[in-house]
């Protein structure tokens, strides 16, 4: 349960809002690198944190992320001509470079200096790990580039996709740290893949939870019974504001997610698979590209999932009844998204009734509210902007009953180059 003012604080991320300013202090994923494939390619509309922007790659391969609308008459520069080191508005020919600086106003004499007084808002756009990242905060406070492991491993060891989710970012992100839903909603997927620790997950439906704070978020441990009186632990890291990872299974790639606000009623669900020490196999890549695992199939030419609210997510009641899927919706990503979208564009948390297994969500909200207020009221910089914080992994492991998850979390969840993940 949250009061409306608390819910507003967490869910509103437009300019000037506390949570919006908190997001703006971090590097966030803006586009897939493949969306701007080459010099002078078509510009791409990008909306982030309720700001409408346009991304383009100029004739010299420089990347730009600028205000979508021409300063002259407010025309969308998506219609623009990307030519000769700038994006030209097709209405009256005004032209902008990657910094948003107006470099040409054909109707005005160059000597007038008019163009030099016109500059659109711009943000840096940097490629790392197949993703274009942007930073939308004060330029003088720009942190070092992000160092998430998936973005630092050699090419071929990671696969990244994104999909539009038709809900606020928070209810999407909360699914990423809600370990108690897995054995229900995703039971069909666990049943279909009985390798690794999935058998242990299915065998113990009353797990215990341990939640440990770290400098920039939480480690959420789920403990189940294992053979010989031991405990099977699955550890989910959450890094503020919105990076989560799924505990690994056997030698499979590790899943991770970013949940990035588009506006207050939509978000990008970024889905990542990476393996710390080996290339993804051809079969794994084919599965991911076809929308398998945490990825989805799309409406052609868009990032909207093929299963979406307009077709009731391709609900299959026969599969639901047979138990092939628990909810009747296929695919892990859309199983989550369908239920989260059903809560409404912005979930009304004043009508929730949370219980003790929701403690991870309760504590995550508390951390976010505290961090956003600390930044807004006292200027406390977010800890998650430090790249060292990004060297994190999920983990799955078996420990003796007297071993402390809190003690081992630091080691098992630290991403070390060339060292394999801790997995069962």
């Amino acid at each position: 349960m949250l009061r409306k003012e608390q819910n507003d604080l967490l869910t509103q991320t437009g300019p000037g809002t506390p949570m919006g300013e908190f997001f703006r202090r971090h590097w966030i994923p803006a586009l897939l690198a493949e969306e701007l494939p080459g010099a002078d390619c078509a510009p791409v509309r990008v909306q982030l944190l309720s700001e409408r922007l346009i991304a383009f790659r100029d004739s010299e391969d420089r990347l730009g992320l600028i205000d979508e609308f021409c300063a002259h008459r407010g025309v969308s520069l998506w219609f623009g001509r990307n030519e000769e080191c700038g994006l030209r508005c097709p209405y009256h020919g005004w032209k902008y470079d990657v910094t948003g600086q107006c470099v040409e106003i054909p109707s005005e004499p160059e000597e007038s200096g008019m163009r030099r007084k016109i500059k659109l808002q711009s943000y840096p756009l940097v490629e790392r790990g197949g993703v274009f990242w942007t930073y939308m905060g004060p330029p003088e406070l720009q942190p070092p580039l992000p160092e998430w492991e998936f973005a630092m491993v050699p090419a071929g060891q990671a696969y990244v996709s994104k999909r539009i989710q038709e809900s606020n970012w928070l209810q999407a992100m909360e699914g990423g740290i809600d370990s108690s839903h897995v054995a229900f909603l995703h039971r069909g997927s666990l049943n279909a893949n009985r390798s690794g620790g999935n058998n242990l997950t299915l065998a113990d439906t009353a797990p215990a939870f341990e939640i440990v704070s770290h400098a920039a978020g939480l480690h959420i441990g789920v403990r189940r019974k294992a053979e010989g009186g031991n405990h099977y632990w699955r550890i989910t890291p959450w890094v503020m504001p919105s990076f989560t990872m799924v505990p690994p299974s056997a030698d499979k790639p590790i899943h991770g997610h970013f949940w990035i606000p588009i506006d207050d009623e939509h978000c990008w669900a970024w889905s990542i698979d990476h393996h710390p020490v080996r290339a993804l196999t051809a079969d794994e890549l084919a599965h991911m590209r076809s929308g398998g695992g945490v990825h989805v199939a799309y409406v052609p030419g868009t990032f909207r999932p093929a299963a979406n609210r307009d077709n009731d997510y391709l609900m299959d009641r026969a599969a639901q009844k047979a138990g092939t899927t628990f909810s009747g919706v296929a695919g892990i990503g859309m199983q989550d998204a369908s239920l989260q979208e059903s809560m409404g564009a912005i979930a009304d948390r004043s009508k929730e009734n949370l219980v003790s297994t929701d403690n991870g969500i309760i504590m995550a909200r508390q951390r976010l509210m505290r961090a956003a207020k600390a930044l807004a009221e006292k200027g406390v910089e977010p800890a998650g902007t430090n790249p060292a914080i990004h060297h994190v992994r999920s983990a799955a492991l078996i420990l003796p009953p007297d071993a402390s998850f809190a003690d081992i979390a630091g080691e098992a969840t630290r991403a070390v180059p060339g060292v394999a993940q801790t997995t069962v």
Binding site: M1, L2, N7, M363, S404
Partner: protein, 120 residues
């Protein structure tokens, strides 16, 4: 910026009644930092057992047995204290609680109690 809160047409009548949350400080240091909520165990819907890292949470077994007899969910909370002895505190609570939380600060207890209570 849009702020469409909730779902149009969703029934707005209350869907629950407030719960009673019992907060039990387990050691003298926790007693000094966290207020006992003074909810009788027989009226409680959920129980938070609180200790400070490094302290002796001696009463946990008795409390856990009482909760088990009444079918009550028991959450353990370890407040900041002696970080070196955190494992000891976790080890004391782990066999008895369904959820164990290493808190960031004392105010986490009140926040958790409020949310579980369902207070508007």
């Amino acid at each position: 910026v849009s702020a469409r809160h909730g779902l149009p047409g969703r029934v707005q009548r209350p869907n629950s009644r407030p719960r009673q949350v019992l907060v039990v400080p387990l050691d003298p240091v926790a007693q000094a930092r966290v207020e006992d909520s003074r909810v009788p165990l027989d009226l409680a819907d959920a129980v938070l057992a609180v200790t400070v890292a490094g302290a002796e949470a001696d009463g946990i077994e008795t409390l856990a047995e009482a909760c088990r007899a009444r079918g009550l969910a028991l959450t353990g909370i370890v407040l900041p204290g002696n970080r070196e002895r955190l494992s000891h505190s976790l080890g004391q609570l782990r066999p008895w609680v369904g959820t164990l939380l290493v808190a960031d600060g004392d105010e986490d207890v009140l926040h958790l109690a409020e949310v579980l209570h369902g207070r508007q």
